[in-house]
């Protein structure tokens, strides 16, 4: 198992190099003169030249890349054009809320999604199944900004249980946005778990389990569930990677001070160094989530570990 994990992490190195190169290229791919763009429309020639110098854009391409990578490894991501603050500080300020939000929605999605899926499979074609799958279809079809607005209206405005937005109310500020963010994946996990478990319960080793004298509960949780989660993890893992896209929308709806909001602000202001850093961060998170999913997958499926 450890061997497998280390192998996977080492395998990421080339990918990280490619990604960092592409992100480095980002500034060079902007049409026109990046220095002029960043300096702004009203900038004088000297100001443009100053920006060019500060970004090192006058240097040869290879040298630029090397110094970019050097800075990157030291945690230096440059300075925001808008505020002049170090990009690293801007990102660090916003990282925790967004990670908390994402993490919590993954928990929602997994726990509730699997629970609904198991109940639906066990009570196949009975009312818990119908109810579960109705919830799932709704969860998949409702856009998360709309779900967010409904949740705010219902739980914050009407019932006053949770704040309408921001992150000032501790854990309470996380409940509604994380739910809005995770609902779609939760619904998808519920459906996949259901169909996968229904399928697994038809397998011959399930009959073996019964022939041993196991109860229905032991069969489902002791034997069938782990087998059923293998395909679920594959699909869910990909979706988790895309959660950040969702967080941009949800953070906006809930005025939540996370990376998603920062990204929107930076794009509006053409704050390229910040955008660049955000893309880097999102990519890293995507890779990390995929790595975790792969590890989970290999934990569930011993065949992967040994091949």
């Amino acid at each position: 198992m450890w061997q497998y994990i280390i192998k996977r992490i080492l395998g990421l190195i080339p990918l990280l190099l490619v990604i960092s190169f592409v992100i480095f290229m980002f500034i060079h791919l902007i049409p026109g003169d990046p220095a002029r763009l960043m300096a702004g429309k009203d900038a004088t020639l000297e100001e443009v030249e100053e920006v060019r110098q500060s970004l090192g854009l006058h240097e040869p391409f290879v040298k630029q890349y090397i110094s970019y990578m050097g800075n990157l490894l030291q945690g230096d991501l440059g300075y925001s054009i808008k505020s002049g603050a170090p990009v690293v500080d801007l990102i660090l300020d916003r990282v925790m809320p967004t990670l908390g939000l994402t993490f919590l929605s993954i928990i929602w999605a997994l726990v509730i999604g699997i629970l609904i899926g198991v109940l639906s499979a066990v009570f196949r074609d009975k009312w818990p199944d119908r109810l579960g799958m109705l919830t799932a279809v709704s969860g998949i079809s409702l856009p998360n900004f709309w779900l967010g607005l409904v949740l705010i209206q219902l739980f914050s405005v009407q019932l006053g249980l949770f704040p309408t937005g921001g992150d000032d109310a501790g854990w309470k500020s996380y409940i509604l946005p994380s739910f809005a963010l995770g609902a779609g994946i939760m619904a998808m996990i519920a459906r996949f778990t259901r169909s996968s478990l229904v399928n697994t319960l038809k397998q011959e080793f399930i009959r073996t389990g019964r022939a041993k004298g196991l109860s229905g509960t032991s069969i489902v949780f002791g034997h069938a569930l782990k087998n059923s989660l293998i395909p679920v993890v594959t699909v869910a893992g990909l979706q988790f990677g895309f959660l950040l896209g969702g967080s941009v929308v949800v953070e906006t709806v809930f005025s939540f001070p996370g990376l998603g909001r920062l990204l929107i602000d930076s794009i509006q202001f053409r704050d390229y160094p910040v955008i660049q850093a955000e893309i880097l961060f999102f990519s890293l998170q995507f890779i990390l989530v995929n790595l975790l999913v792969d590890i989970l997958y290999s934990y569930l499926n011993p065949k992967i570990r040994y091949d």
Binding site: L201, A211, K212, H223, I230, L300, Y306
Partner: protein
């Protein structure tokens, strides 16, 4: 000896779109202590449904036992609660299946699968249960039993997997083992080894075995008595010796002729023409009539009863007429 399992008038059916379809039509047979009984018939005859009915493992199918008694050690299993039945499965009566590949949980270590059975039925704790599991693996001839405990089914060969399955299912020392085509998925040499193993276990433990197979060759190898099934009915029942020396039912003769002969080419392989009728299209009279070379007028009109004679039985107008004639002749002498 003495009766271990007695199946009386067992009727099992499946819920289908066209309503309840009876697949096992009221069969009677018994398995004695220490006896290996073969249950033989082509695919679709109802052998598996019979075994699943005895174990009451029809949960996950649309199947249901309609009528009958399954008397195990004097107690009707069909009257037991599901909870009580669970305590019997894997403990008193156990079962092994055809596909050793798919019959073990692919994501659970072999040791854990065996220990699970042991701790379910025997009062054994962690270390003791583990030792018992290792000794079970050793007793079915698995080398490196300790290592195998930590391996997964896909790391073993088919024959080894079937040994694991056997070790697991006899680990609580059941009195009855139902083996549903345990060697069908294995190649010939491995088949013989597994059969030897089962015979060996039976001799050591005096357990009764119901050996389900479509291959009379397997029956010849290890069984004491044979029940031949066709279309959800018993058509002949006799000792192995009687069956091979003097098969009464044309279907049994066909099965005997279908045993592959050593040294014979593939083109010499005989098989009974036609196929087992589906429950939907059952012939009116004798269910074997469309495939029988001895078919007579009465065969198409009326189904013969399973007639007992000298401790063996057969369901065919041919033998029943013969015995009547013989009876007449005997009377005259």
């Amino acid at each position: 000896m003495g009766s271990l399992l007695q199946v009386n008038n067992l009727k099992t059916g499946f819920h289908t779109e066209d309503g309840m379809q009876t697949v096992i039509t009221g069969i009677d047979f018994e398995v004695n202590h220490g006896e290996i009984v073969g249950l033989v018939g082509e695919s679709g005859s109802g052998k598996s449904v019979t075994s699943l009915s005895i174990m009451q493992l029809l949960h996950d199918t649309p199947g249901e036992i309609i009528d009958g008694e399954i008397i195990y050690k004097g107690e009707d299993l069909l009257k037991l609660s599901e909870k009580k039945m669970r305590q019997y499965r894997g403990n008193e009566l156990s079962m092994i299946f055809q596909e050793p590949m798919t019959s073990l949980n692919p994501v659970m270590k072999i040791g854990k699968q065996i220990i699970e059975t042991i701790s379910l039925h025997l009062n054994m704790s962690g270390q003791k249960a583990k030792q018992h599991a290792v000794s079970m693996l050793e007793s079915v001839g698995i080398p490196r039993a300790k290592d195998i405990m930590n391996e997964y089914p896909h790391q073993l060969s088919g024959g080894m997997r079937q040994r694991v399955m056997i070790a697991m299912q006899i680990s609580c020392n059941p009195s009855l083992l139902i083996a549903d085509e345990p060697t069908t998925a294995l190649d010939v040499t491995i088949q013989a080894q597994i059969l030897d193993l089962l015979k060996d276990i039976q001799e050591k433990t005096n357990m009764g075995i119901l050996m389900i197979t479509h291959d009379l060759g397997v029956v010849a190898e290890i069984c004491d008595r044979v029940i031949v099934m066709y279309a959800g009915r018993i058509v002949e029942q006799a000792t192995v010796k009687e069956i091979f020396n003097n098969p009464k039912h044309p279907y049994t003769k066909g099965l005997i002729d279908s045993i592959p002969k050593i040294g014979a080419g593939l083109d010499e392989l005989y098989s009974i023409p036609g196929a087992v009728p589906s429950p939907k299209n059952m012939p009116k009279g004798c269910k074997f009539a469309p495939r029988c070379e001895h078919v007579m007028d009465i065969c198409n009109l009326e189904e013969p009863a399973l007639a007992m004679e000298n401790g063996r039985s057969s369901r065919c107008w041919l033998t029943q007429e013969q015995s009547q004639q013989e009876g007449v002749v005997g009377h005259g002498q």
